[in-house]
C-alpha cells in the first residue's frame, strides 16, 4: 500500500460516490455495501480530491478557510487521507 505524502495527488476511487444524505444532511461516501459519514473537515478534503491537486495544495487551499495553523491542518489531512486509502476509498497518483 502506498502512503500519503505531500506530493501525491488523491482522487476518489472509481467505486465511491460522494453525496449528501437526504435524511441527516451529512456528507457521506457510498461504496459497495458501505456508508462512511464524513465530518466537515473530511468533507472539505474529499471535495479537493480530484486527482490533480497535490496534498500540499489541498492543505494550502483549506488553510485559507480554516483558522488553525497549517502544521495541524497538514497532519489532520494526511491522517484523514491515509484512513481513506486504507479503506480503499481513494487512490493516489504521484
Amino acid at each position: 500500500m502506498s502512503a500519503i505524502d505531500l506530493n501525491c495527488r488523491p482522487a476518489l476511487a472509481a467505486h465511491v460516490r460522494l453525496q449528501i444524505d437526504p435524511v441527516s444532511n451529512e456528507p457521506v461516501l457510498l461504496f459497495p455495501e458501505g456508508v462512511l459519514v464524513l465530518n466537515p473537515t473530511a468533507h472539505d478534503i474529499v471535495l479537493h480530491c480530484n486527482g490533480k491537486a497535490k496534498v500540499a495544495e489541498i492543505v494550502a487551499a483549506l488553510s485559507d478557510e480554516y483558522e488553525i495553523d497549517e502544521a495541524t491542518l497538514r497532519n489532520d489531512a494526511v491522517e484523514c487521507l491515509a484512513d481513506l486509502l486504507a479503506r480503499n476509498l481513494i487512490v493516489v497518483k504521484s
Partner: protein, 358 residues
C-alpha cells in the same frame, strides 16, 4: 436515529437459471404477480425518502427482468447506490453496457467454485465459463466487481484457489459466506455442513489472505455460525437497518422472514413503505430489546448481537422468540450440538435437492 433503513434488498424475480442447493429463496414460493417496472420505481423512491442509501438488485436472477435497465435508472433517479447481485448468466457485454449506461454503480457476481467441474455441479448447470466471460468484462466497462462465493462442505477445501480466482479477475471485494441454513440450505444441511476441521483450516486461510490483500482487495469472511459460541447480529437487529421487498411486493425485515410461522407481511401495493417500516406489526415484532426472553434480556451482549437470528430460533427451537440456539447461553444449544455431532459421525448423505424455479 435508532431505526433507519440504510439498505433495501429488491428481489426482482424468483426465476433463476441456477439451481444452487443453498439458495436463500423460500422453498415454497409465495404466489402472486411480480411487481411492475413502475411499482418498483415507486418503491425505490419511497425507500430513499425513509433513509435508504443502498439498493441491492437481486432475485432469483435479476437479469431475468427485461426491464432491469429501467429499474436501475429509477434507482439512480432516487439517488440510491445500486449493486447488481447476479449469477452473471446472460450478462453479455451489450447488456452490461446498457446497465452501466442506466446508472449501475457496482456488480456482484456469484461463483460456486474456482473451477468449472465443481462450479457447474453445484449450480446444476453449465454456468462457470459464462461467469468467467462476464466477470472479465466488468472492469473493462469501469464497474467495480465483487465476487461472492457461498462456502460449504464441497468447496471449502478449495478456498485458496477461490481467493486466487478473485484476485485474477481484479475484484475489489470478495465475500466468502459460509452457507446459512434456511430454506434450501436447511433442506440440504447434511450435505452442505462442513466439518470442524474444514472450518478451522478455512478460517486460517481467510485470515492470512485478508492481511495479505489489505489495501488491494477487501475480503469479507462470514463465519459458519453453528461452529460459533455467540450468535450473529442478524440483519444488525430486526427492523433496524435493512429491509427486503420480495418479487410480489411483500416487505420483509430479512430475506428469510417468511419462514417464521404466524408472521403476516405487508405489501407495497397496499401500504406506504414508510408506514410498513415504522408502524407495521411485522417490523415491530422483534424490534429493540423489549421482546427478548432470558438470558438475552439481561445479557450485556444484547445490543451487540440482538439475540441472534429469529428465523434460526424458529427453525431450530420452534419458538421465534427464543435465544438463537447457536449461543452457548441458550438452553437449547444442544440442538445445534446434535446437528454438528451428526455431521462428524454420519456418513455423507447422498444427493442434495437442487433448487427449482416456481
Amino acid at each position: 436515529m435508532n431505526f433507519r433503513p440504510y439498505a433495501l434488498l429488491a428481489e426482482l424475480t424468483y426465476q433463476c437459471p441456477l439451481h444452487c442447493p443453498y439458495c436463500s429463496n423460500p422453498v415454497g414460493y409465495p404466489q402472486g404477480q411480480e411487481l411492475t417496472t413502475d411499482e418498483w420505481k415507486r418503491v425505490f423512491a419511497e425507500a430513499a425518502r425513509i433513509g435508504v442509501l443502498h439498493l441491492g438488485l437481486s432475485g432469483g436472477e435479476p437479469l431475468a427482468r427485461r426491464d432491469l435497465a429501467a429499474l436501475i435508472a429509477g434507482a439512480q433517479e432516487a439517488g440510491l447506490y445500486s449493486n447488481l447481485i447476479t449469477s452473471a448468466v446472460g450478462l453479455e457485454p451489450k447488456r452490461l453496457a446498457e446497465l452501466k449506461e442506466a446508472g449501475l454503480d457496482s456488480i456482484q457476481i456469484s461463483f460456486q467454485a474456482d473451477d468449472a467441474a465443481l462450479g457447474d455441479a453445484i449450480a446444476g448447470t453449465k454456468a462457470h465459463q459464462l461467469k468467467l466471460n462476464a466477470a472479465r468484462f466488468v472492469p473493462e466497462v469501469g464497474l467495480p466487481l465483487t465476487l461472492n462465493v457461498v462456502l460449504h462442505r464441497r468447496n471449502l477445501d478449495r478456498l485458496e484457489n477461490i481467493i486466487a480466482l478473485a484476485e485474477e479477475l481484479g475484484a475489489i471485494r470478495l465475500e466468502l459466506a459460509n452457507v446459512q441454513y434456511y430454506g434450501w440450505g436447511h433442506l440440504n444441511q447434511t450435505q452442505l455442513m462442513p466439518t470442524r476441521e474444514q472450518v478451522e483450516t478455512a478460517v486460517a486461510i481467510a485470515s492470512a489472505a485478508k492481511e495479505r490483500l489489505a489495501g488491494k482487495m477487501e475480503l469479507i469472511y462470514v463465519l459458519p455460525d453453528y461452529y460459533e459460541t455467540r450468535p450473529k447480529p442478524c440483519m444488525q437487529g430486526w427492523g433496524r437497518r435493512y429491509l427486503t421487498v420480495n418479487p410480489i411486493g411483500n416487505v420483509l425485515p430479512c430475506p428469510n422472514a417468511t419462514s417464521i410461522p404466524g408472521l403476516r407481511f405487508e405489501n407495497v401495493r397496499e401500504q406506504a413503505l414508510a408506514w410498513i417500516w415504522n408502524e407495521s406489526p411485522s417490523f415491530n415484532q422483534f424490534r429493540g430489546t423489549d421482546w427478548m426472553p432470558l438470558p438475552c434480556k439481561e445479557c450485556p451482549q444484547r445490543e451487540v448481537d440482538f439475540g441472534g437470528c429469529r428465523c434460526q430460533a424458529a427453525l431450530l427451537t420452534g419458538d421465534a422468540y427464543a435465544t438463537d440456539p447457536v449461543c452457548t447461553l441458550s438452553p437449547k444449544r444442544e440442538v445445534v450440538d446434535n446437528i454438528l455431532k451428526a455431521i462428524e459421525t454420519d456418513s455423507l448423505a447422498a444427493e442434495w435437492t437442487a433448487r427449482r424455479n416456481p
